[in-house]
Every structure is written in structure tokens, then in C-alpha cells.
Symmetry: C2
Subunit: 395 residues, 2 copies
């Protein structure tokens, strides 16, 4: 039989990164292409104790159907965490539990974006969410990224030049893929622009807790007095991504629509792990845990930066992230980035070609993404040495 | 700020049942409105042992990111289960793990249905999936249900009378809400019609294992030699719904599109519980388990039927299901079903008004849905007595 697929899915391809990761299952390949948290950052003993305890003492609650909005105690705990840790007021907002932060992007698009409407994003940005927006058949427009965040003049231009701009997708902290943090001045300017143009912002903050240098910058949501911001949070980087638990805080009317959307999509999020997240928040020392895992990422990032500075040809630029999992390298003008990535794989080192993160993947790109959280220290040293030799050969 | 919601979500309401369930949190209300498996059907001890064991011996695999397609060993185990238990050939098909069977409907619609395309369903049918299809802004058309399944003459008419019919949604076993099982003759006729009109069928089979009377009828998928059928299975009714694990088997090109859709929607399904499902299948005696839980449902259904026959006015018709969780009662001609449901709630008994399950909820309906799996035996006896008294007052 000949299948007629929907327009939205006809041209959509699997995430290039996930395809690259499959090809790097060769254990000899050193992969800087992943985005996994460091396994030693998982609080394995606490989680094992908590989950075992839930199953011994309250198994039916953990196994039966539950409500779409999420486990009530976890919703309250997430609100308290946002208020105390991030100074985000939850007044006039509501919060639901979602099956990982990716679902927050999906439900925001489902609630707000018609086919042909425009979604704006940083260029480059997180491919998972870009593909999600593409799956709504929208007009996806990237706005140039600068060292301190999105180019706000070009953002305003893009709003004026595109039809029905409905959503602005931003990762203000340690952005994926660049590692860039948006400055406070730009955050204020972004909110001014959004208010002036009646534009909803999706603030995705999966990495915000993983700060290992510099000073925290207030989230857009904490400065949002006009109900402009949908705030997407996740347990994937502070606890464990395999549990697939995130949360979204937004003005109550938006959350109401997202809840109906979630009911249609997956009924509710795995309740055993929702209860586990709540118990973990209730019993752990969150500050101490975050300090411990940030130190893991600080060391790994510093090691990668030291190796790059020692091994790479001086014509290769790189970002210096203050947190998160990624940094972004840019080859000199005229360089063939895809050729570099191909030759790196031949030498058994995988990186992600930068064009994968562009709103329009046909645009030129001389950059590639490097992940420092997944590889071991030995792999970082060895892999950067191999890449460095390649840069000296090629540039 | 005034929010402009998408056309698809503008008119979509939360599932009426889930709203009714919230209002029945009053512990005095006897609820026949739910659709929960019986808690004593959960293999709590085995699951506790399995999950504890996974976390002790292989915690990182259970907590780290995983692949969108699902845990490979679980995919293989589900395929084997389909082949050995259901005589479904998996040749030319592929199988992915999903976050509950509801996600199968969502991904099928995402892959196949454009806005304005027609989706056909049994009328009445499962509100969760109907709302899912509505969320794709499709033309949802219900086809009359008969005692042995959908009216196939009207099905063929509906295909001819509606534009771009893309998907036929069916629950052939112990249908929700009616409890009806589609006969073998009708299944053959449905496949003939689908083939003649190049129509993809979504066969949803969450209740198929819960047969407690009559003889098994081959699934549509087991008779599908033309790549017409997407088969949706679930661990919710045989293991536990709170885990949110299901699976979907379909022709490989359809699964490829659904996989891309899932990557955009929630990256992958909770991996801890995927591994748990695999270990459970590998270590349990599935036949014995299914026999045990089917016996629970047989007893509960029989009790409800006995009570209905004893207590209800003789003018109330009901279905006699051979499995599943639900039966369907129909009031005499001229009866005001909504008034009956309202007065039942006043007497602290909740049922679901039948119109909630219609493709067009404005159509007349004299039926209501009764669930026998969730209430205790005492609640069934007491609740049916109260409803019976009401039927004698009103009819």
C-alpha cells in the first residue's frame, strides 16, 4: 500500500544528532556529540531508596491512573522551588507536570501555533525543539545569536517581517548548542519587545542549575509582569533524564489549554517517577546537590577548554560557557566544516555539525557543537588531541 | 495579555470523564464513571522486586537518556508476545515503545492526518482518542455501532461521503464505552473495505487480554496482509497504567514517521519502567497472570450484571460484555438521559453520560457508561440498588 503522510511529517527528518549517536555506538569512537548528563551526577542511592520505599508503602498510588495535571504534591513542590530558588512568582500562573521539557515545547506549540504561523528562535538553537515546531508546519525563523544572546534589533525586524508571529523560543542559560548566556540587558529588551508585539515567549531552562562560573542572571519569567512567558523546567539535568519528568509554569489560561493538549497526547506522566521526584525534592539538600553536580561540570568544561587551548590551531574560535553541557567551536573563514566533521569521524571522534541547529539548515555554517558532560576525562584529552591534530592539518 | 490560541485547541474541552472524576473525589460518591483497572490486578510484589533489582544492578541504564524507538529488549519482547499470543506476524512491520497507547493515537494522527482530513470512528467511541483526533482539527465522523461492531454498510457510505478519509479508528475487543466485541465476519468486511478504499486502520486493543467469556476473535492486524493496520497495545490493563507504557506495531514506513513524531513529542518513554516491563515479561507466567486478572473482571462484571437484572426497571437495556472494563446501558425511548445522570449524582452515584463518547456530542443519546473494574463489590451492590430505585421512579 502507498501511504499518504501528513504535510507536517512529509519532510521532517529524525534529529541528526540522534542519528549520529546511533552511528557512534562503535565503542572506539570518542563522542563529543551527545548531550547526556554525567552519570556520576545521578543521585543513584537516594533514588533507589525513594522508589523502593514508594513501591513498598504506597504501590497502588504509584501504579494506578492519575490526573493529567500531575501529582499534586509535586506541582506544589515545583512551585515552591521556582519561588525560593529562582524568585519566580507563581501568582496568576499555573504549573503542570510534563513528560520531560520537550513536551512543554510540544504543548506550547499545540496551544498557540496554527499551520503557517511564525515561530522565532535563536539561530542556532536546540534541534529537538526546532523539529517539534516544524512538526506543526509553522514558519520557523532563526534570529542571529550574539555573544550575549539573540540580536534584539534583528528580533524586532523578524517580528515585523513575518506573518502571525506567535511564539519566541529562547534558552537564556548556557544555550544548547552554543553555551551562551543571555545578558540581563538583553533579557529586559526581549521582554520589552515581546510586550510591544503581544508575543508569547517560551523560556526553556533545562541547564539553568548547572552554573559553574559567573553570576546568576534573573530568568525572563521572574521579570514577567505581563503574562508573556511560558517557563519550561526539567528534572533531566538535576536528577535524571531517563525518568522523563519536567514541568511548565505559565499564565493560567495557557496552562489550561496545554493541559487539554497533554490529555490528548499521553493522558498523564508516569506517576511512580512523579512521586519519586516529589520525595527527592522533599528529602534532598537541593543546594548541596546542585553545588556537587555543578562542580562535576565545571571540571569537565575546564578540562575541555584547557585541551582546546593547548591542542587546537589558534584560528579556531570557541565559546567559554558559564554552565551547562556544551561549547561551540567555529572554524576560520572559508573552512569546510562538514569536511572537518567527516575527517574527525574517520579519526574516531564525533562532533555535531553546526548546521543541524539552524532554523534553515541550508544556511552556511562553520561551527560545530562539543559536549563535555558525557565523555570521561581520558576521552576528552585523547579526543581533543586528535581533533587538534586535524585542525593543524586543515587550517 | 489576550492570548490567541490555535484553531485546533480553541474549542477542545477537557475530557468530560476526567472532569466528572474530579468532582467524584467526594468519598461518599460511588463512582461507576472511572476506567481504572482493579488495584488487586496489579502484580505489586513482582514489580517491586523487578524495579528494585534494576536500580541496584543497572541504575545508569535506567536513569540516562535512551533512544526514541524504545528499549531494544522490550521491543523484541513485545514482538514475540504479538507473534506467540496473538498470531500477529511482525514481518514488514516495525514496533516502537510509546508512553501509553494514547500516544499511539496521537502519533498516528500526527503522521497521517492533515487539518480537514476525515477520521472515522465507531459511534460511540473512546473519548480520549476522539479528543486526540479533534486536536488535529480533523473532520471526525462517527459510524453507527451495532451489537457485533460498526455498521459496515454505513462505514462504506461514510468513506464515499467525506473528503480525504485518512484513518479508521476501531476498538474491536470489549469496546470502550459499549463493551461490544466486533465479530469475525465484520472484521473481515472491515479489512475488505479498508483495502478497497486505501484506508489505514488504527486498531486499538488495550482490553483484548481481559476476555472472561466467549471465544477469542482474531485481531484485524493478524489478518492484515496489505499493510493496512496500525496495532496499538498497552501495558496499562495487563500490568499497570501509572507506568504509561504501550507499544505500536505498524508497517515500517508508518513507524518511521511515528518515531520522528515521538522524538518531537517526548524524546523517549521513561526508561526505568520500559526495562521493568521487559523484565516482567521475561520472568512472569503471562498466561497465568492474564487468567488471574480476567477472573477478577469476570466476577466483577457478573456481579454488576446480576445486580442490574435484579434492580433496574426492565425497560433499561444493557450490553453483556465478554471482557474489558465497561458495559453500556440504554434508557427507554423518550427518556431524558442527562436528567437521569444528574439525579444519579444527587443520590451519590456517578455514571458517564453517553453523549460524551459521540463523534458529534450534539447528537441525541439515551445511554450511559458503567465501569465495573474500579468499584468494590460492596459499592457495586449499593450503587446499582440506588440507580435501580431511580429507574423505577423515572421509567
Amino acid at each position: 500500500m502507498q501511504y499518504q503522510f501528513s504535510k507536517r511529517m512529509e519532510s521532517l527528518q529524525p534529529s541528526l544528532i540522534r542519528e549520529i549517536l546511533k552511528s557512534t555506538s562503535d565503542p572506539e569512537v570518542i563522542s563529543f556529540a551527545a548531550g547526556n548528563p554525567a552519570p556520576n551526577a545521578f543521585p543513584v542511592e537516594e533514588l533507589t531508596r525513594i522508589i523502593t520505599d514508594i513501591l513498598h508503602h504506597d504501590p497502588i498510588a504509584a501504579l494506578q491512573y492519575s490526573v493529567t495535571e500531575g501529582y499534586p504534591a509535586l506541582r506544589e513542590a515545583c512551585k515552591r522551588m521556582l519561588e525560593t530558588h529562582y524568585h519566580i512568582s507563581t501568582k496568576d500562573n499555573d504549573l503542570i507536570v510534563i513528560s520531560g521539557a520537550q513536551q512543554g515545547a510540544d504543548l506550547a506549540a499545540k496551544a498557540l501555533v496554527n499551520e503557517g504561523d511564525t515561530v522565532l528562535c535563536e539561530d542556532p538553537s536546540f534541534i529537538g525543539c526546532l523539529n517539534c515546531f516544524r512538526s506543526y508546519n509553522c514558519n520557523l525563523v532563526g534570529v542571529e545569536m550574539e555573544e550575549d544572546g539573540i540580536n534584539t534589533a534583528k528580533l524586532e525586524q523578524a517580528i515585523l517581517q513575518n506573518p502571525r508571529v506567535k511564539l519566541l523560543y529562547l534558552i537564556p542559560n548556557f544555550q544548547n548548542p552554543t553555551g551562551i548566556t543571555t545578558s540581563l540587558a538583553k533579557r529586559r529588551e526581549i521582554l520589552r519587545i515581546a510586550k510591544a508585539h503581544n508575543l508569547v515567549i517560551l523560556e526553556d531552562n533545562p541547564y539553568g542549575d548547572l552554573r559553574f562560573a559567573g553570576e546568576p542572571v534573573p530568568s525572563l519569567k521572574s521579570m514577567d509582569t505581563d503574562g508573556l512567558v511560558i517557563y519550561n523546567g526539567s528534572f533531566s539535568k538535576i536528577l535524571a533524564p531517563g525518568l522523563r519528568v519536567g514541568f511548565v509554569l505559565a499564565p493560567a489560561p495557557i496552562i489550561a489549554k496545554m493541559t487539554v493538549g497533554k490529555q490528548c497526547a499521553d493522558v498523564h506522566t508516569n506517576i511512580l517517577t512523579q512521586i519519586a521526584c516529589e520525595r527527592w525534592l522533599a528529602t534532598c539538600d537541593l543546594d548541596a546537590h546542585i553545588a556537587r553536580i555543578s562542580e562535576i561540570y565545571r571540571q569537565k568544561c575546564q578540562l575541555m577548554l584547557d585541551c582546546i587551548d593547548r591542542e587546537f590551531a589558534p584560528s579556531i574560535a570557541h565559546t567559554t560557557p558559564e554552565g551547562g553541557l556544551f561549547l561551540w567551536c567555529t572554524l576560520p573563514e572559508g573552512a569546510d566544516m562538514m569536511e572537518f566533521c567527516r575527517r574527525a569521524v574517520e579519526k574516531k571522534v564525533a562532533v555535531v555539525p553546526g548546521f543541524a541547529f539552524l532554523a534553515d539548515q541550508r544556511n552556511p555554517c562553520r561551527s560545530f557543537r562539543m559536549n563535555f558532560s558525557t565523555p570521561t576525562d581520558e576521552a576528552i584529552e585523547k579526543g581533543i588531541k586528535l581533533l587538534g591534530a586535524l585542525t593543524h592539518t586543515m587550517f
